[in-house]
């Protein structure tokens, strides 16, 4: 297969422009790159140097080539090239398109349909008659292959669906060989699975004409029917191609207690590398398990990936109740022994008294030789049966002696009983023990073979009633009913007229007993049951699965003979689905119990067509993109040649980044040089609130404070900077001024984490709510105050107190007692003194803080008081007259004290020791 295929041009005329390329080459060659003009005082030293560089004044050839290629790519791009690697089925004459159309094709069905349409269109162009057949359909032997015009087939493609079974090659082989003289070519849509007859069918087709095969290259996945192992649902997932590891999800779906279909259980499994199968086990609780209707592979639309369930996974809850108390050691004569043995492997057996058993909501209640029940028990049982329960009763001496149901019909007995009962074949009676009669056709037991050695010695006898005959499920050879049953509401009552142990008959010892229980849907069939259990009954399809694994209830399909059902292989006459007879349901699945998936093997030299639809792929954008990329490279190369690359690289990459990512992000505020500046100097910083006015005031305020610090102290800060909490590194700034603004966004979690780190490592934040004029303190009475509370709630802020009169801030540079800003008289809060701080004798101050308070909180709007313009004038008035000037001076002094405190820590605090030191020096 040619990978590139053919390239066509929509406007091939444009390609003539390629002729201009040599001219361009000549032109570009003649124009050297423009020189760079550069002012350089040391040019005097350069004068007279001879330029030894021999590079000609011409563009280097590779740059020329790059440009020519870029222009060439653009020209070709505008000529609109189109990549069209369509698989061509070359040939004339009729074309047979044979589709496997099995469940394995369903996974890639839409791709197959697309490919089919494409092939049909090609055939239409070539005027070839076409026949499309589904090999899963039954060939109509009397009708030849219907070759028709391709356009007629195109219309039908949408309606085509795969079937849920596998193709029948042998039947089709006969069909096509009968028309071999037509000499048609064949395209075979294979589902990719190997089958015995595939090779011979291919050979037959190849004898008639060329054969091309269309196959999907993805693995076919399927699920084997589920079974019950150790009480768990177990199945095997299959794949047709061993390969890499692949995870699968298997879901069990069914109605929940409310009747809504939903996923009841999920299981994830992994195909190991080079393994074709994987065991899948699901262990839902038995209540849920009984509700499972389908088990399917998630995400695979195929009948092979869906398994419908039948009775075999149902485990009914059977409550066994006997009238006699069990005696120790007398196991074999216990009325329940044989029932227990028969049921325990296939059903969940509950053994308790009736009241307790009813609480467990059993499906079946077995009363073995139970006579009278109390009124509430009878009521409860009747209600339970009417809601769908099955009551199975066995006769026995107690039932016979209880005289229930003799005079009138008892709700918990199917028939009226005659007093006494009868005993045959015993030592004290005439006649021989009775045998069972053949089951009638209406009987649920119809088809079961009768063992010859089953004998009935005693039984209770039904009262002959007009309704008796329709209630009889099994007769003895003399016509006496042995098993009777009656519908009651949604449930039923069944009575075995013998005991459940061997007292009255040896029926419980026979295999028939188990089969009868099974037919009564009391115990459940083991999976893979023999044909004899199915035979003789016509099974009606209840749910039918199509090739995609969709279930639909079917009313139009005819019933299926039990023998056909026993074969288990679905086909046109028996689509996969659920088949029902009476109370029993049998599932027919697309994939058999022992199915293996192996990829089809084709004879060497088989012509394969890609399943991918070979669409026309316009190449224009790619060529234009190539041209743009080459021009971009040209820009870089030109810069490089001109020696401008290194310098401009940053800019160019920034521009490219903007071009590529279209990022609307503002440029990173702190660039390298700003960081260096900050690291090399003392810088006061403020938090950018995003409110331009507030930020401007903060900047001007810190500028004013910096200027005063420079003037008055040895602290010589450079111009203050604003920091973006979300972005900027805080470590370089000893001091942060944070004006609270309602409009500012709350810091993100990362920013909070960094702020906390900053505070812990000795940074100081001056929070300023700037609203002390409102005179409510910082307690959250103002919008800014509430905002501050919100921010502070996230931060690692210690216990606060208003600045005590002996705090270090009052004397770290100037002696101060109040800390006004633009507003005065509001309390300023700092980290509280430790509770054990005490005034030591002879020392003027307590030794308060062994460190810098991490926060100072106030609302005096200090920045406004400090703010100066670029020319050094104060921006905002403070107070009135000389008192105002004094207030501003104190505000500045507070600023100086604060920065001194930040930078020197508790140095001034240590001055408390001065008196002691002086004392020691003897002064």
């Amino acid at each position: 297969m040619n990978f590139l295929g053919s390239i066509g041009f929509l406007t091939p005329g444009l390609l003539l422009a390629l002729l201009v390329l040599p001219v361009l080459w000549w032109l570009l060659r003649a124009v050297p790159p423009a020189p760079l003009k550069r002012r350089f005082p040391a040019v005097t030293l350069l004068l007279g140097l001879d330029d030894r560089e021999t590079t000609p004044d011409r563009t280097p050839w590779w740059l020329l080539l790059l440009r020519i290629l870029a222009i060439g790519a653009a020209i070709i791009g505008f000529a609109q090239p189109i990549l069209n690697p369509t698989d061509r089925v070359v040939g004339k004459g009729p074309l047979l398109i044979a589709m496997d159309a099995s469940w394995a094709s369903a996974q890639s069905w839409s791709a197959r349909q697309d490919k089919l349409v494409e092939l049909l269109r090609l055939a239409e162009q070539d005027n070839r008659p076409v026949a499309v057949v589904h090999l899963t359909d039954r060939p109509k032997s009397d009708e030849p292959l219907a070759f028709a015009s391709a356009s007629a087939w195109v219309e039908r493609v949408d309606g085509m669906e795969p079937n849920g079974w596998e193709p029948d090659y042998s039947a089709w082989r006969k069909q096509v060989s009968s028309q071999a003289e037509m000499g048609f070519e064949t395209v075979w849509f294979s589902d990719g699975l190997s089958r015995n007859e595939r090779g011979t069918f291919r050979k037959t087709l190849a004898d008639i004409g060329a054969v091309s095969v269309v196959e999907a290259d993805v693995a076919v996945l399927a699920l084997r029917p589920i079974g019950i192992a150790d009480g768990k649902i177990a199945t095997t997932a299959l794949r047709s191609q061993a390969g890499e590891e692949r995870g699968i999800v298997v879901t069990a779906i069914g109605p929940d207690p409310a009747g809504i279909t939903r996923v009841l259980s999920r299981s994830e499994s992994l195909f190991e590398a080079d393994h074709l199968t994987v065991e899948v086990v699901m262990d839902p609780p038995s209540e849920l398990r009984n509700r499972v209707r389908t088990v399917s592979l998630d995400g695979i639309r195929s009948a092979g990936a869906v398994v419908v369930t039948d009775d075999s996974i149902q485990r009914r809850k059977v409550a066994l109740i006997s009238g006699t108390r069990e005696q120790e050691g007398a196991v074999l004569v216990s009325p329940l022994h044989f029932l227990r043995k028969a049921l325990v492997t296939t059903a969940e057996v509950i053994e308790a008294d009736l009241t307790d058993s009813m609480l467990a909501s059993p499906d079946v209640v077995v009363l073995a030789d139970v006579g009278k029940l109390t009124e509430p028990e009878t009521k409860a049982l009747t209600d339970w049966i009417e809601e769908g329960g099955t009551l199975l009763r066995f006769a026995g001496p107690r039932l016979a002696a209880s005289e229930i149901g003799q005079r009138e019909e008892h709700p918990l007995l199917p028939v009226r009983l005659r007093a006494g009962g009868r005993s045959v074949g015993g030592t004290m009676s005439w006649g021989s023990p009775k045998k069972l009669a053949e089951f009638s056709q209406d009987s649920p037991f119809f088809g079961l073979s009768l063992p010859q050695d089953v004998e009935i010695r005693s039984q209770v006898v039904a009262q002959p009633d007009p309704t008796l005959s329709e209630r009889v499920l099994a007769n003895l050879q003399d016509g006496t009913p042995l098993v009777t049953g009656r519908e009651l509401g949604a449930g039923r009552v069944v009575l075995f007229h013998v005991t459940a142990n061997t007292d009255w008959s040896n029926l419980p010892l026979s295999g028939l007993f188990v089969q009868m229980l099974e037919r009564l849907a009391i115990s459940t069939r083991k999976s893979g049951a023999g044909a004899d259990e199915l035979e003789g009954i016509v099974w009606v399809p209840e749910l039918v699965m199509d090739g995609f694994g969709r279930l639909s209830s079917s009313r139009v399909l005819a019933g299926v003979e039990g023998s056909r059902l026993a074969s288990g292989t679905p086909g046109p006459d028996m689509p996969p689905g659920v088949y029902a007879a009476g109370e029993r349901r049998i599932a027919v699945n697309a994939v058999g119990v022992d199915r293996e998936l192996t990829p089809a093997i084709w004879q060497a030299g088989t012509n394969f067509l890609s399943l991918q639809r070979s669409e026309e792929k316009p190449l224009k954008p790619w060529f234009l993109l190539l041209a743009v990329v080459m021009l971009g490279v040209d820009i870089l190369a030109t810069l490089w040649i001109g020696g401008r690359l290194v310098r401009r690289l940053g800019m160019v990459s920034a521009v490219m980044a903007v071009m590529v990512f279209h990022s609307g992000e503002p440029a990173y505020a702190q660039d390298q040089s700003a960081l260096l500046q900050a690291a090399n100097n003392t810088v006061l910083a403020y938090v950018q609130t995003g409110d331009a006015k507030v930020d401007r005031i903060s900047h001007a305020g810190l500028l004013g404070l910096s200027t005063e610090l420079f003037r008055r102290t040895s602290v010589e800060p450079i111009e203050p900077v604003g920091v973006d909490l979300e972005r900027d590194a805080l470590v370089l700034f000893p001091f942060l001024y944070w004006p609270i603004s309602v409009s500012a966004a709350l810091p993100s979690e990362e920013a909070v984490a960094r702020l906390n780190l900053y505070l812990r490592n000795g940074g100081l934040i001056l929070f300023d709510t700037r609203d002390a004029n409102l005179n409510v303190g910082i307690g959250g009475g103002t919008p800014n105050g509430r905002r501050l509370q919100k921010i502070a709630a996230q931060l690692d802020i210690p216990v606060l107190e208003p600045i005590p009169p002996d705090h270090v801030l009052t004397r770290s540079f100037y002696l101060l007692q109040d800390f006004p800003g633009r507003y005065a008289n509001a309390a300023v809060w700092v980290e509280a003194a430790p509770p054990d701080a005490e005034l030591v004798e002879g020392m003027p101050f307590r030794n308060l803080n062994d460190g810098v308070t991490p926060v100072v909180i106030g609302g005096n709007d200090w920045a406004s008081a400090w703010a100066i313009s670029d020319r050094g004038q104060f921006l905002f008035p403070v107070g009135r007259g000389s008192a105002g000037e004094r207030q501003r001076e104190v505000a500045l002094r507070f600023g100086v004290n604060l920065i001194m405190h930040v930078l020197t820590g508790n140095y001034k605090s240590d001055q408390v020791h001065v008196p002691a030191l002086l004392d020691r020096l003897g002064q």
Partner: protein, 297 residues
């Protein structure tokens, strides 16, 4: 219709502020720089006429007999001469090159050569003035003076931005015999003019130092590609096809120029150093201060 031109007071003030704007900044910078060398008022640390005792030295032939300190000589066999610390006021002439070439500032440099030269010159003047010496600019025909007024005057003069020629040369100024001089320039101009100016100074028995201030890019020549190099005023031009190829030649030329400057300085008894705008100004100021203190010894 001819309207009489009205000079708006606001505009006048704005212009005046713009003109004066550089001045306090320059002065502050220079003061800040000078403050890093807080030397205090002290002597010249060399013998000469003065009142303070400097040292005894053994008398040599040619010493006047009245210079011999008999009290000291009586304590040993040799004769000693008592020397006083030199305390006469020095006059220092400062030339700050303000030609166009000094305004060069390569991309990435923090300040221009002219900025650095002005700050260095003024800081030196402040230091000298505070040490009691007289300072003056070469461009100023007045003789050097000392005191705050002189510093202010110099600062105002330096703050004026004038770029008249491509390359500067030391102006001819009558300097007193034994005066000191400080030349701050990139010394990239015509060599002969420089030689002539220095010779003229040497003829006047002037000693001093040459500080060559260069931009880092002039030292490294980090250029490549086809380039036309122009002098700042565009008078001189040089075109190269690949700047990198002539880098080595350029560096050799630069080294030659430096060596020639040093040799010239040595011949005339001057001191020479090369200073780059990329490094802090303090070391250069220290060098200037020490050199001027040692010059003329």
């Amino acid at each position: 219709m001819n309207q009489p031109e009205v000079i708006h007071p606001a505009k006048l003030r704005k212009d005046a502020e713009a003109i004066a704007s550089g001045f306090p900044e320059l002065l502050a910078h220079a003061r800040h720089l000078a403050a890093t060398l807080s030397l205090g008022h002290h002597g010249r640390r060399r013998s000469g006429p003065g009142d303070e005792f400097w040292q005894y030295r053994t008398a040599l032939a040619g010493d006047h007999i009245r210079d011999i300190d008999w009290r000291r000589s009586a304590r040993s066999d040799a004769h000693f001469v008592r020397q006083m610390e030199w305390q006469n006021v020095q006059s220092v002439h400062i030339w700050v090159d303000r030609a166009a070439s000094m305004t060069y500032r390569a991309e990435g440099s923090i300040e221009s050569k002219a900025d650095r030269a002005r700050v260095l010159g003024l800081a030196t003047a402040i230091l000298l003035s505070s040490a009691g010496e007289s300072v003056g600019l070469m461009a100023d025909p007045e003789p050097p003076k000392h005191g705050r007024g002189q510093i202010t005057k110099m600062a105002m003069h330096l703050a004026e931005s004038t770029a008249d020629a491509d390359y500067g040369k030391p102006p001819a100024k009558e300097m007193g015999r034994g005066n000191l001089a400080l030349f701050l320039s990139d010394f990239l101009g015509d060599w002969d003019e420089l030689v002539e100016a220095l010779s003229r100074a040497a003829d006047q028995k002037i000693e001093g130092c040459l500080v060559q201030i260069l931009d880092p890019s002039e030292e490294d020549f980090p250029f490549d590609g086809r380039t036309i190099f122009e002098s700042m005023e565009g008078v001189l031009k040089f075109e190269t096809r690949r700047a990198k190829a002539i880098r080595d030649d350029y560096l050799i030329r630069l080294a030659e120029r430096k060596a020639a400057l040093e040799a010239l300085a040595k011949r005339t008894g001057w001191l020479y150093t090369c200073h780059h705008t990329s490094v802090p100004a303090q070391p250069a100021l220290m060098w200037i201060h020490n050199s001027l203190a040692g010059a003329g010894r």
